[in-house]
């Protein structure tokens, strides 16, 4: 065979082989779900507490309680129930019997105690909700189905925070502990859970991909779902356009839950996918550093609050896929006053407040700075809308791009915290404490959530009292009163409560949205051809 003939033949063979893949490549497997949402940075559920981790954790691990439905309800899961002592200091949790980890060993209260010990020693992610009120000596297991938590002080959101804590299999982790690291290095790339899906660790590539198979022996059984999904292939797609195209083409079964509003019509127009729209509990807020002049002046903050075009932003940028949120607590959560009037966009009013602030000596002429999150376009758009309005009333706003880690570290001190910055407060546990409690109680100064450096003794007292009461009926008016004061003080600019937009393929059924984990609970899902 001549060299040229050989080369031509090889080329033709390659072309045919490549083209021959065309049909197969476009066809998803009938019993395999391709979930194209972000994966957490690593697989240790105590390393970080963010939305991707929640989406991973609710499938691979079990927790004492879980959140179901929307608005979320706290439902016993590994627990059958709990009691709280009259003084609010002792929480006793009863556990189910017969729960097995993925390796077949039994899950008992001993594992619950060890898991909480690990949480409090690792001191990362979800530990924040427990560290102020719990230490390792306060957790005991009097019998295999009972775990007792003795708190240092009453803490009403304690049980609401249980869904943050995965119960781990100590028998799998302990042999892999190195340098007293509680198995962190090992668990970052492995699993030790009991959840309804079992990761195939051989497929794991950090933040890129992970396959999971169904846990047929999960303690909750599968009778609720006649055709559960056997294999879940999690694939993280970085680029939004590619993610949406992959959904429309049928390569994947979902996008993440932050589908840009301008892509909604495109997905809806396709024959292969639809968009799930769910009001969640994620409040967008423009923070103002209340300790830095001129933001230490209430009239200046009021001027800023009236200078943001809320309707323009929600209707224009978000195409209406958001709900105006008047204060710090999501409007669909108890504790948010139903009669709380949101600030309106009114530049005349803003001018009046600006004049008052100036008369009071506030340096309103100085250039102020807002820091946006570089890779989140909405933060830029919000800043630009504010900048445009402020220019009309003579305030010069400079927009500076930054990244989340830098922004968070800058909020450790008042003088390094930006004048303004934009972010969301997501649902980590369903209690007003997650929002108003951690954002406006001055004891949290130095954390990113409390980065407006707001200080009001009355609000501190209300929030601390609410935190210590067990009765929701008594807590609600306290949060409502605190909300009214904080909004009247214009501590921040609260814009909207998000409507999560997730593209899902038409063959996917049983998608049940809950703000925790953004509906990534594969247990309820099934696929049709």
């Amino acid at each position: 065979m001549k060299r040229r003939t050989f080369l031509m033949g090889s080329g033709a063979a390659v072309t045919v082989a490549a083209m021959g893949n065309r049909v197969a490549l476009a066809q998803p497997m009938p019993d395999e779900l391709v979930w194209a949402d972000d994966l957490p940075g690593n697989l240790d559920p105590y390393s970080v507490s963010d939305v991707p981790m929640q989406g991973y954790m609710i499938n691979v691990y079990d927790t004492l309680y879980v959140n179901k439905e929307n608005p979320p309800k706290l439902v016993p899961w590994l627990a059958t129930g709990h009691t709280i002592s009259d003084d609010g200091l002792t929480v006793t949790v009863k556990l189910r019997e017969g729960v097995k980890f993925h390796d077949g060993s039994s899950l008992t209260s001993d594992d619950v105690v060890w898991s909480f010990h690990r949480l409090l020693n690792v001191k990362k992610g979800p530990a924040a909700a427990f560290l102020p009120v719990l230490d390792t000596n306060g957790i005991t297991a009097p019998d295999p189905t009972t775990a007792v938590f003795k708190l240092k002080q009453p803490y009403a959101p304690f049980v609401a925070a249980f869904p943050l804590v995965a119960i781990l299999n100590r028998r799998q982790i302990e042999p892999n502990i190195k340098d007293n690291d509680w198995g962190q290095a090992w668990l970052a790339s492995n699993s030790a859970g009991s959840g309804c899906y079992i990761p195939d660790i051989s497929t794991y590539q950090p933040v890129q991909q992970l396959d999971m198979k169904r846990n047929h022996d999960h303690f909750m059984g599968w009778t609720h779902n006649t055709s559960p999904i056997e294999i879940v292939r999690r694939r993280s797609i970085m680029e939004t356009t590619t993610r949406v195209n992959a959904l429309i083409k049928g390569d994947v079964d979902c996008t993440d839950s932050y589908l840009p509003p301008d892509q909604v019509d495109r997905v809806l127009a396709s024959k292969t996918a639809t968009v799930s729209k769910n009001q969640t509990m994620r409040v967008m807020v423009l923070r103002m550093n209340n300790k830095k002049p001129p933001f230490d002046n209430r009239n200046f903050r009021l001027a800023m609050s009236h200078a943001f075009n809320y309707k323009g932003f929600i209707d224009g940028v978000l195409k209406g896929y958001a709900v105006r949120n008047a204060g710090p607590i999501p409007v669909n959560l108890w504790g948010s006053p139903t009669d709380l009037a949101p600030y309106d966009f009114n530049l005349d009013t803003a001018k009046d407040y600006l004049a008052k602030a100036k008369a009071e000596g506030a340096p309103v002429e100085r250039e102020i700075e807002i820091q946006i999150q570089q890779h989140l376009a909405q933060t830029t758009q919000a800043a630009q809308i504010l900048q445009q309005s402020l220019r009309k009333i003579g305030v010069n706003l400079k927009i500076v791009a930054n990244l989340w880690p830098q922004l968070v570290s800058s909020t450790a001190k008042a003088d390094t915290t930006p004048d303004m910055w934009a972010h969301w407060v997501s649902a980590y546990f369903i209690d007003p404490e997650n929002w108003i409690g951690q954002m406006y109680d001055s004891r949290f100064h130095g954390t990113w959530k409390a980065s407006c450096w707001y200080k009001n003794d009355k609000v501190d007292a209300l929030l601390r009292e609410a935190r210590h009461l067990d009765d929701q009926g008594k807590r609600q008016p306290l949060y409502e009163e605190a909300s009214r004061i904080i909004v009247a003080d214009a501590a921040d600019i609260w814009i909207y409560n998000a409507i999560e937009l997730r593209g899902i393929s038409n063959r996917l059924h049983g998608f049940e949205f809950t703000p925790i984990g953004s509906g990534a609970d594969f247990r309820t899902m099934s696929l049709t051809s």
Partner: protein
């Protein structure tokens, strides 16, 4: 030649140390403390301080650098603060994908760019020459992410000829790992079906990535060929009655691709950095997308490691280019 290669290798060491110092300074002089992000969204100041101490971020910068250099000296590039795995392991898993993509792009750019440039020189001032110049200017000017999306829309979404994203079909086992390059591994294991799949996946990203390189190589080759064609030996060959084809594709080409060869070496580094955007759009699991994640999460050890590894590859490729250069033009080696 051995002395020549050794000389080039020795020069690589200070270059890499300089790269390390610069990258470390750029990353760590900025107010860039990832402790807060690492500690989690609800972390207390105590938690953040504990994380800062655990990762050594509370030490003076010079000390952090000395510790890091000592680690690198022993071949340990440290652990990613996000994945909590050795960064070298993360990179090793992804590097073959990037090298494969870059190599195929470069191969395509060279195989198309060199003949195009030569033909443009042969048909100087013809319609072909003008058209080629317009196309190469466009190739240099077009943003790769825009071009990538256009390719996706046409060949994946409309025509359904090529896969939209990824390196291999989801759910299909990759070729048995020998080199980590799917095209090579599938051929070595005689899995031509897998080769076809890998080839189909690499076509669009490689073509996108090659565009600027192709244009650059074509222009360099054209300039080199034009210059060579004015040389006396070409006129002598023509007068001696050598076939035109032989003169152009053997004598002229060999003498005019020296410049283009140097350009290929430079392009390799450029292609690896351009791969960041291309990998993101085509969801190509290479070091480019890894680097983007590392930057967004302030995973500075991962960023440093990627910089170092890419720098090392760039140096090696340039040494190879110098060797080829010396082979094409023995006067280069003789000067050393």
């Amino acid at each position: 030649m051995t002395r020549f290669v050794l000389h080039r290798l020795l020069l690589t060491i200070p270059a890499l140390v300089g790269l390390l110092v610069l990258t470390f300074i750029m990353l760590r002089v900025l107010p860039n403390d990832p402790s807060a992000a690492l500690a989690g969204e609800n972390a207390t100041p105590d938690q953040i301080a504990a994380v800062r101490k655990a990762y050594g971020f509370d030490e003076p910068l010079w000390k952090q650098f000395v510790i890091y250099v000592r680690q690198v000296g022993t071949g340990d590039l440290g652990n990613s603060i996000i994945s909590n795995r050795p960064v070298i392991r993360d990179i090793a898993e992804r590097l073959p994908a990037t090298i494969e993509l870059t190599f195929i792009s470069l191969l395509f750019a060279a195989c198309v760019g060199i003949p195009l440039g030569t033909l443009a020189a042969v048909w100087y001032q013809s319609f072909f020459d003008h058209a080629m110049r317009v196309v190469t200017v466009a190739g240099l000017a077009i943003a790769s992410f825009w071009f990538a999306i256009i390719l996706q829309m046409i060949f994946a979404m409309e025509l359904d000829w090529l896969p939209l994203r990824g390196r291999f079909p989801v759910g299909l086992a990759a070729p048995w790992h020998i080199t980590g390059f799917y095209l090579v591994d599938s051929l070595l294991t005689l899995r031509f079906d897998l080769f076809g799949k890998a080839f189909a996946h690499i076509l669009m990203p490689a073509f996108t990535l090659s565009l600027a390189g192709l244009a650059s190589i074509a222009r360099f080759t054209r300039a080199g060929a034009l210059e060579t064609m004015q040389k006396e030996f070409v006129h002598y060959a023509e007068a001696a009655g050598y076939a035109r084809r032989r003169i152009v594709w053997v004598y002229v080409l060999r003498n005019s691709v020296v410049g283009a060869t140097t350009q290929i070496g430079l392009l390799f580094g450029g292609l690896i950095s351009s791969a960041v955007a291309v990998e993101a759009i085509f969801d190509w699991p290479g070091v480019g997308s890894y680097a983007v994640n590392a930057i967004l999460t302030s995973d500075y050890k991962a960023v440093l490691a990627v910089t170092l590894v890419v720098g090392l590859i760039y140096s090696i490729v340039n040494i190879l280019v110098d060797v080829v250069h010396a082979w094409l033009d023995p006067r280069v080696a003789e000067k050393l």
